[in-house]
Symmetry: C2
Subunit: 622 residues, 2 copies
């Protein structure tokens, strides 16, 4: 055991983190040339989005992948972020384990200060070539250009060129890495990564030039700054003894009391007193002087005393709209028959780290019935395309019995079969990934538990849908009977008797007793003109609100319509335009409010939490 | 992207590897108290076995897990290894990324110099308590006792006590760690880990005292030193440009030619000249002066030139016997009807690292028919109990179409169903694990490929078995007919006619024409006395060899018997003893040599590579 240090051949030595990762690059996700290309783009893109989000910038990203020779590619990623200070550059790109977010107590894509440096290291290892960086801070009139590599033995930057350059960009950073790589465009490719990232970052404009000289543009479809997570102080409950000791040791506070109140979130003076008296620790004691035993008692006391749940502003979910967009993006032209109302769990804590789970799904329609359901995984807004098998999300799905919810699943475990696409987003201050490549969420019990709870809620909604769709089916049949047959009969008999066709809508209303919503669509270019028809085939006058949700593209003007006093047997038409529609328009989703759903065909009840999705801007208001 | 370093809140800082792993301990496998206990025992036990193997010591291991309080345990692991030098202790246990095997080019369990230190760190983080180490080198008359922790900020050892002590042990090391943990004994427990480790390390004696005061002893059942891997020089083909540059930079050789010949394996002066002329590099050039371009050309040249495959003595497979033992151990009392001849692939190379794959399986008998097959994973002789989903082994099984081999598998992928236990061992100089917890082999294409190839070979054997067992069935039926009915008839008719029963064995032989092997067993304590009956129901005199293989326990004396001239219709009895049989004795497996299998019932043909399994000692010879 201890013989870790012993070997008859070589004597033990210190290993630099760079040496370690050079030999173990698969841990960072660089396990094949194809994967490596993906990782380089991913690390760069994630960092760019973090930086823009934190600095309130609408991201403009440019990516270029150019073939150098048979197995070498030059990868360029440029952003319009805040840029980096000249002094920081060498360490940021040339030193592993150097970063700002590691100690920051907030949700972000990057965490460890490893990703982009690992990309530089991989390029150097596989091609011997250094990386090139250009960066400019807003307000500066010159940019700086660096050519650098990594001294592997010492894990220090090796700067070859450092020079001021003129750059026609207000601010931003560009990195160019030459690396062994293989290019493909199918599953788990850089392209899929860009697509799934764009899907949930509608405020990003991404231009991509591929190795064959084709350009692909992911347009910005929402002009708002996405809600960003705020940094907060550490949440004390669940912190390890060692961690508290650590914080106490470096605290500048005079007393334990001030330490608890000042250095943690959610601890008021009152709570601090409670904790300390419970732990039997002198409130005046210097934090640095706390013994392990005292800290251990304080730790236990914090569980007993009622500390409020952690502040949520350190988290940032997708919210309903983005989840829908994420789903749309996945199923392309298949038209599911059911769009779920996403489930958003109340945040909970896994050793002192707040986290939460969102789940959304689409079901039925043209989705394949005889295949395993599709699971779309996101962690802290980053799509996870690899290591599905290792991921807590996959495991939670497989360990959930889906049979009660109407899916086929052998023995009640394993990935179920059915026409279902499931989007699961785990987000938190510190996601425990199974490895540094951050491809899978570690199956930590607490997190598994939360995902499963979210899945069961989604499952119940799926079940309700099955039941409801039965009712609906009956209603439709009835409506088709009266709404289609009667007019036919009326017309026929009228022509036989040489009479004019009678208005039988009132009759239909009497029998059908439903509000019926359909639409006519005409598309020109990427614009769609929609005319929505609302028939009131009920006996009463109806007043209600109708919300139109275009699955793709963006509605112009309002998407919310108040229908005042639509009389029995009358119809009203609503016109609106949808822009930026690429490919097919799957048809508008309609929500209504103010009528018993049993009387409505062609629209869904408006989700109660419609406005709390946190991305109101995109919905627009009338 | 580059904004890794930027954050409006905190400025970038250097992160120590200890801080990194303290915050990301799940990457090291410490993701739950239950898992943590398992990891601590695992890291210690693996190191002990490595050290004993390298130093030609038969491992005597003692493990104790004692409950401290509701969620804290004290874990003690003691070995009889070579011990550690006093000066090395602090770094070996108190500094992450410090070890001797990292640069060693050979197969071993430990690699990174992280494992045991991570255990010390985890103990400190969760309980604030330091670890205690006692170690003694052979020949020294005193041992040294250390109490130490880790300075997380600087990743340096923090030694609190260092004192000489008297220790009644020739040499060895003991470590005591107090940590938050949860104890269980079921699947994925420390106990399962010890069992699966003992199964493939029959030369280890392991004594375990559990928290309830029960003692469990895994006896040494084989007295030989297991074949150990030897350290060799790096294999040049597949090395990265960066790595070659690195080696060239620190080489003491005068010329590139000497560098190639002296610092790598498999490069003769002749090959070196070929490579260099092919690359167009001056053979007299100083290694340190090589340009990236030249190195890149040398790298390409090494692929073109015919460099012999890497030396195999740096690898160490289980071999047939150990694989069988490994399997036996897993299926307990279920009696499979078929024991496969393990498949051993020729070693191949994944970026310059030699590796290979072994596969063995048992099939049928009492194994459950309607469940997924059981996959037993080993990497470098270490059982893998977690993260099956992420593992190349699991993926290779799931991506293999088992239907042609007679297993049920929906759509030809996914884990198949059937009465099969599959043991897969991946071993190599550097196994790419998906993370530092070393729980799963990364699905590197080259490795996936090799595993699949091995699985297909195993699959074909399974198919042959299915076909053969059909033939056998017929043969048995035929034999039962003649071998059972005829004597009956003879006896009956004899008694009717008041005659003595005639010897009809010759008649049976004429019709049956098989050699029939059965055995009688009597068990007392853990000793089994076996009498093996061999009937020659063929027309010829038969001479052949019979090898007895007791699935559990150990045969006393020879296990190989030469049967000279067994006449037609005659029978011979062979007696032998099997000791150390715990639980049921599933019956002996018999192999024969020297007869066409079609004429034999009750024994398998002797595997051709029987003697090349590398662990001859245990088979014994007559």
């Amino acid at each position: 055991m201890s013989e870790k240090g012993r070997s008859p051949h070589s004597s033990p030595v210190e290993i630099s983190i760079s040496e370690f990762f050079e030999k173990n690059r698969h841990i960072l996700g660089f396990d094949s040339p194809q994967k490596a290309l993906y990782m380089i783009v991913k690390e760069a893109l994630d960092n760019s989005l973090d930086a823009c989000e934190e600095n309130g910038i609408l991201p403009d990203i440019y990516i270029r992948i150019a073939k150098v020779d048979q197995d070498r590619y030059e990868i360029t990623i440029r952003d319009n972020g805040p840029g980096i200070g000249r002094k920081e550059i060498p360490n940021v790109f040339g030193k592993l384990l150097y970063g700002s977010r590691f100690h920051a107590y907030k949700q972000s894509r990057g965490q460890q200060g490893i990703g982009i440096t690992a990309a530089v290291l991989y390029g150097q290892t596989t091609t011997g070539k250094p990386s090139e960086i250009i960066t400019k801070r807003a307000g500066d009139d010159v940019a700086f250009r660096f050519v650098l590599g990594i001294n592997v033995k010492s894990n220090t930057p090796n700067v070859m060129v450092e020079e001021p350059v003129i750059w026609d960009q207000k601010s931003g950073t560009e990195i160019k890495i030459t690396a062994r790589a293989r290019y493909h465009t199918g599953k788990q490719s850089v392209v899929e990564y860009m697509r799934e990232t764009a899907a949930v970052n509608p405020n990003m404009e991404l231009t991509y030039d591929d190795p064959d000289g084709n350009r692909m543009v992911f347009r910005r479809v929402a002009d708002m700054i996405s809600r960003t997570a705020e940094e907060v102080k550490p949440y004390p409950v669940g912190l390890e003894i060692g961690e508290i000791k650590h914080l106490a040791g470096q605290s500048s506070r005079k007393t334990v009391r001030e330490f608890l109140v000042g250095d943690f979130s959610r601890i008021t003076p009152g709570i601090a007193d409670e904790i300390l008296s419970f732990a039997g620790v002198d409130i005046e004691k210097r934090p640095g002087k706390l013994t392990t035993e005292e800290i251990s008692r304080i730790k236990d006391a914090m569980r007993k005393v009622n500390v409020p749940p952690p502040p949520l502003r350190c988290l940032s979910p997708f919210g309903e709209i983005f989840i829908r967009k994420g789903l749309m993006n996945v199923y392309g032209d298949l038209k599911p028959s059911f769009y779920s109302k996403p489930v958003e769990r109340k945040p909970s804590v896994y050793n002192s780290n707040p986290f939460s789970v969102e789940v959304g799904f689409v079901y039925g329609g043209d989705l394949p019935v005889d295949q395993q359901i599709r699971i779309v995984r996101y962690a802290n807004k980053v799509p996870l395309l690899y290591q599905a098998g290792a991921c807590a999300i996959t495991r939670a799905v497989q360990e959930t019995d889906w049979r009660p919810y109407g899916l086929e699943q052998r023995g009640g475990n394993g990935t179920p079969y059915g026409p279902l696409i499931l989007l699961v987003h785990v987000y938190g201050v510190r996601i425990p990934y199974t490895s540094e490549s951050k491809e899978a969420v570690a199956p930590v019990p607490k997190i598994l538990e939360e995902i499963k709870a979210a899945l069961r809620t989604a499952g119940r909604e799926l079940k309700r849908y099955h039941q409801k769709s039965l009712k609906r089916k009956k209603a439709y049949e009835k409506f088709n009977l009266v709404g289609v047959m009667l007019p036919e009969i009326a017309r026929k008999s009228a022509s036989l008797l040489g009479r004019s066709v009678p208005d039988i809508d009132p009759v239909i209303s009497k029998i059908a007793n439903v509000l019926f919503i359909t639409e006519d669509i005409s598309k020109s270019g990427d614009r769609v003109s929609v005319t929505c028809h609302v028939f009131n085939y009920t006996k009463q006058i109806r007043s209600f609100r109708l919300v139109a949700f275009p699955p793709v593209g963006n509605i112009e003007g309002t998407d919310e319509f108040n229908i005042e006093k639509l009389e029995s047997s009358r119809r009203i038409d609503i016109d609106f335009q949808v822009s930026d529609v690429k490919g097919n328009y799957p048809g508008t989703i309609y929500y209504f409010k103010g009528i018993d759903p049993i009387h409505v065909l062609g629209a869904e009840p408006l989700p109660a939490d419609w406005k709390v999705s946190g991305i109101e801007v995109e919905v627009g208001d009338s």
